[in-house]
Symmetry: C2
Subunit: 273 residues, 2 copies
């Protein structure tokens, strides 16, 4: 079976570029839906695409149909715009009505609604992990370094905090050192969290980044992702390592990430939660 | 009854200065225990005090006894030092043993243990609100401005997130706008949280700071505190107002805070959670 053209809803971060690259290399056509302030314009060079304001759900669906995309992937985080900035079309208004009804819905709730909306239009919605091989985090130690007992305790605490935060659709990442939560991710993203923790880290050993899928999160939308850059930023923050969830997070360029972790003396571990 | 000399364990922020000022104005003697990187040295001018490394619990107790302090107040946050930096005396080692036993204990657990330790030495441990009149947050709207429906919904979400975070001893403050959690406080403190939210706030209305006591928090240690500065920082972050917990948070200089909130167009509200 020849794979049909893939619609890529391109959020921020390196994931959309990777998917486009892999598809084109395999001879598969793509069409990219790009979002202002989210999609990296560099990935669009020589790639068929349309810039879409985030409120234009109807226009997105119409174009994906016109492009004959049968399969769609949501790649990388797309933050919910403010209601003030949003100029929703009729389709988006329907979605917004459902969103506003449930008080305190975060980004994840919106992505789930978008997935449902796409499926109702007979698109097949797939996850980034369905398209990229070897991208799903394995369990156990990757690379040469392993967490010690104190770091394991910090990972447990970080997983508990990340679970509670994720259940409230707040964020995916937590930094813990010596039993103290240094920082918690909300809208600022993991890189900003790691940068801030440079100043918050205490003297002495330890410090771990724990990044987990939100418990109720739509699996095909915005799985927690780390790459070699995350390892470098964690090292710059003085941390000892990174824990992600086995089978529920994505690792870009695992070979490069592990080489970088080995070089910098950090552990990377896939845990069960 | 003449009040005996008051021992002030002086954390960061404006609370210790206020307590010292009020006591001295009333003719009550004080002795301040000052902590490096926490206590503002300015408050110690002409005030009897001793600088104590945070690991010296035995030395602290001995000095408070020598000074004949029968009553002690813990004023302002004292962050737990790193285990590496800590040079604990025997007394502190005993406490640390208890702390390490429970994995993932944050700052609050340590303050509770310190209160118990002081009480076991027959000190009377009081809260800042026992010493300062009119400092406890009232319920309802303070000042001229009130949250609208959207902001009330954001306050509810903020209170839910703050409750979950507090239960894990992570932090007290959360910023929410239009149903999205912009930022969550851990070690960086409320001022740094507000500063970061300047860049995270979306266009359009709304944005609230919710600051609550951790559910299990020792009432006499580090109750959530706001002052006129908090109002100014919230305004600089583009927020619409602040919610604190009725009866469970402290408001310094309520008159000045309300005047500042009125001037800047922010609401300040005491809520029940």
């Amino acid at each position: 079976m020849v794979a049909t053209k893939l619609g890529v809803l391109a959020g921020s971060g390196p994931l959309p570029a990777r998917i486009v690259q892999v598809c084109l290399a395999a001879g598969r056509e793509v069409f990219v839906i790009a979002f202002e302030n989210e999609t990296d314009p560099k990935i669009l060079e020589n790639v068929p695409h349309m810039w879409v304001p985030r409120g234009k759900v109807g226009a997105t669906i119409k174009r994906l149909k016109a492009e004959k995309c049968e399969e769609v992937v949501l790649a990388g985080p797309v933050r919910r715009p403010s209601f003030a900035k949003l100029k929703p079309d009729i389709r988006a208004l329907k979605l917004l009505g459902r969103i506003r009804k449930a008080a305190g819905q975060g980004d994840d709730a919106i992505l789930s609604l978008l997935v449902a909306e796409l499926e109702s239009e007979n698109f097949r919605v797939v996850g980034a992990d369905d398209l990229l091989s070897d991208v799903v985090a394995p369990g156990g130690i990757m690379g040469d370094h392993a967490p010690d007992d104190g770091e394991r305790t910090d990972i447990e605490l970080g997983a508990r905090v990340a679970g509670a935060l994720g259940a409230l659709d707040v964020g995916q990442a937590v930094v813990v050192q010596q039993g103290v939560v240094l920082g918690v991710e909300a809208m600022e993203g993991t890189d900003a969290l790691l940068k801030r923790c440079r100043a918050l880290k205490r003297e002495g050993r330890g410090g771990v980044l724990v990044k987990l899928k939100k418990p109720q999160q739509e699996r095909r939308a915005d799985l927690p992702t780390i790459g070699a850059d995350t390892v470098r930023h964690a090292a710059e923050a003085g941390l000892r390592g990174i824990a992600v969830e086995e089978g529920q997070s994505l690792i870009l360029d695992r070979g490069e990430l592990i080489a970088e972790a080995n070089r910098l003396g950090l552990f990377v571990v896939g845990i069960k939660v």
